[in-house]
């Protein structure tokens, strides 16, 4: 009897829905491969015996100094300095994943904090925080990033901070809106009547109710953070060469795109593939937490058929 009606929490339900979603499984598998490549990048380099920053002027460049294409020696070809693109992509995955996960994690944590605090306290605190979010959302990203990097110099840490800084406000707004409606619920009143303080109400009562939104945003912010990082590295504001990142590899490839397609194609494919996988997973996670979202689409399709 007890097994028949098993207690399933909302998280468990969401996970079960997710595990039935083929797209989600495919995306998770792809992300798993990318993570493995990133983690074992040094092993890959050791196996091929091509360190990421080693330049092969003899074998990796044609006599006229043009990169060589994919071959048995260089599976993905070489770049303008005769370095192995496969190894550099593997190392670049580390940068992308670290930036993606850390920046989106920071952004979600800070956005949640600001959103909940603004909604719970209301009044002047809400006004100040909401206007602050408006300001952040209206700042020109590139100009700000350029200015900041000009002052403190490019680095991985700065990239993460800048990306998180430009992402948290979106999360903050959504969380604030949700928390505003949660705050009017009777269970919040019940908590207050028992003597719960603001801290407890914000983090024990409200936070679990916005957690699903936070998970969805975290997954959806990872690909955009990765793309952000690539953009910054492309413009020379992110990871400092010779450390490989997909963004600075693409920047280097510009000079050679007419003669060396592999130089553009492989880092570009890695970037697009990774962001695509995270985006698909993010969409699936959202659907898993909000199954109604799925049904509305079905209903709409039926209506269209009828008319």
């Amino acid at each position: 009897m007890n097994d028949a009606i098993r207690a399933r929490g909302p998280w468990q339900l969401a996970f079960e829905r997710l595990s039935r979603d083929r797209w989600a499984i495919a995306a998770t598998a792809a992300i798993g491969i990318i993570i493995l490549v990133a983690v074992f990048a040094p092993l890959i380099a050791a196996a091929i015996e091509h360190p990421p920053e080693a330049q092969y002027r003899e074998t990796g460049l044609s006599p006229s100094g043009i990169p060589v294409g994919p071959s048995r020696l260089f599976l993905f070809g070489t770049d303008g300095l005769g370095r192995d693109i496969l190894v550099r992509i593997a190392y670049g995955a580390r940068v992308s994943l670290i930036v993606g996960v850390l920046a989106s994690g920071l952004a979600v944590a800070f956005g949640a904090l600001v959103g909940i605090v603004a909604a719970w306290f209301g009044g002047a605190i809400d006004t100040i925080l909401s206007r602050l979010m408006d300001v952040v959302l209206s700042l020109p990203f590139l100009v700000f990033a350029l200015a900041l990097v000009a002052i403190v110099g490019p680095s991985l840490t700065i990239s993460i901070v800048v990306i998180a800084f430009f992402s948290w406000a979106t999360v903050g707004r959504v969380v604030r809106a949700q928390a505003l409606s949660i705050r009017e619920q009777e269970y919040i009143r019940a908590a207050r009547s028992m003597g719960a303080g603001s801290m407890r109400i914000m983090f024990v009562e409200i936070l679990p109710n916005v957690a699903a939104t936070l998970i969805v945003y975290a997954t959806l912010l990872i690909p955009s953070s990765i793309a952000f990082e690539a953009t910054m590295s492309f413009l020379g504001l992110g990871v400092v060469p010779p450390t490989p990142s997909w963004g600075n590899m693409l920047a280097d490839s510009i000079a050679f795109y007419k003669v060396a397609w592999w130089f553009v194609a492989f880092p570009g494919a890695a970037l697009v593939g990774t962001t695509l996988a995270f985006n698909i997973l993010g969409d699936s996670v959202r659907d898993a937490f909000d199954p109604r979202h799925d049904q509305t689409i079905v209903v709409d399709a039926d209506k269209e058929k009828d008319s």
Partner: protein
């Protein structure tokens, strides 16, 4: 006379209808207007009235979920009406509330065990295994299976959820339990169970209760005394039996006549009073007696002079009514219009 546990003195609560700005001085909903009550230790005070008459607001003011516009709430001789949240905490332990909506009053994302354990955690009374044991004792006490400790509220029925709410409210053995329409969201078949549970708990834990409902028959079942509210005011208060036998206020009479009687012969024999019109807007309440626009007995004075809540006719000091022309025993509500 038994000592009073809680005194409400001239409590007023107005809500602004719109945010005040430069152009409007702002209108106010007069949710509770000058209510004074005395709740005696160990009794159950029923609070009845139509939807929107201010019963729930009064309860929330007593438990200080709302700031009072004016007036005082005195709990065991201490004025708690202007205490800050932290100063209120010791009193929160002793006054608890059971909420109306068994769905909205439990956080859907938290497990039942941790919801019921909240009061212990908030007041630092128990933790770990001790907390779990006490929560399971409580679940047992209110008739829930203690093994369902780890379930979510969505996995319980309405009646079970209300039991969870009750368990949470009595966790700290409060002196005063305010029940805000605890059964009106439940199926009729479940109501009696919850009402009986509340009565048992009251006996066992020697609770003082304020029981709010719009349903007179429910209130009669549990209350020692009953206060009737209309448009933010208490218009009659009396021991339960007295109120049912000797209602003085025309509005109380009308309410009583609306209770269905299951016997059709008796039902058709009695006087049916159907009030005309809707309750007036609490934004601009009528002058004088607030009931006068709908009252079949109203005369000119009723629109001018607000009748005080005092003993009427030959009633005891326990039976107060606010009416210029109280209804005597056996008298018909609608009088022959005196020629004027």
């Amino acid at each position: 006379m038994t000592e009073s546990l809680l005194r409400v003195e001239h409590l007023v609560k107005h809500f602004p209808t719109t945010a005040r700005d430069f152009f409007r001085s702002g209108q106010h909903v007069h949710a509770v207007d000058d209510v004074s009550l005395d709740v005696r230790r160990g009794e159950t005070l029923g609070l009845v009235g139509e939807t929107g008459c201010g019963k729930s607001t009064l309860a929330r003011c007593i438990i200080r979920l709302e700031r009072l516009t004016s007036g005082r709430v005195v709990f065991e001789g201490h004025d708690i009406s202007s205490l800050s949240d932290s100063e209120l905490r010791p009193y929160r332990r002793r006054m608890q509330m059971v909420f109306q909506d068994p769905y909205g009053s439990l956080n859907p994302r938290r497990r039942v065990g941790s919801i019921i354990g909240d009061p212990f955690e908030i007041h630092g009374m128990a933790s770990g295994a001790e907390l779990r044991r006490r929560v399971q004792d409580l679940m047992d006490l209110v008739g829930l299976n203690p093994e369902h400790y780890n379930r979510f509220p969505a996995q319980f029925s309405g009646g079970q959820r209300q039991r969870i709410g009750i368990a949470r409210a009595i966790a700290l053995r409060p002196d005063l339990l305010i029940c805000d329409e605890p059964v009106s969201a439940l199926d009729v078949s479940i109501r009696a169970q919850i009402l009986n549970l509340l009565r048992e708990l009251q006996r066992e834990l020697r609770l003082t209760m304020i029981f709010i409902s719009h349903d007179l028959s429910v209130v009669r079942h549990v209350s020692d005394r009953i206060a009737v509210m209309y448009l933010g005011k208490v218009i009659e208060i009396a021991p339960g039996a007295n109120l049912f036998e000797h209602a003085r206020h025309p509005y109380t009479r009308a309410l009583l006549s609306a209770i269905p009687i299951p016997d059709p012969d008796l039902d058709s024999a009695r006087e049916q009073i159907v009030l005309s019109g809707d309750p007036p807007s609490p934004i601009e309440p009528p002058s004088g007696c607030r009931f006068h626009p709908r009252c079949p007995r109203a005369e000119r004075i009723c629109g001018v002079d607000e009748p005080p809540l005092i003993e009427r006719l030959l009633d005891s000091r326990d039976h107060l009514a606010a009416c210029h022309f109280p209804v005597a025993d056996g008298e018909a509500l609608v009088r022959e219009k005196s020629a004027t």
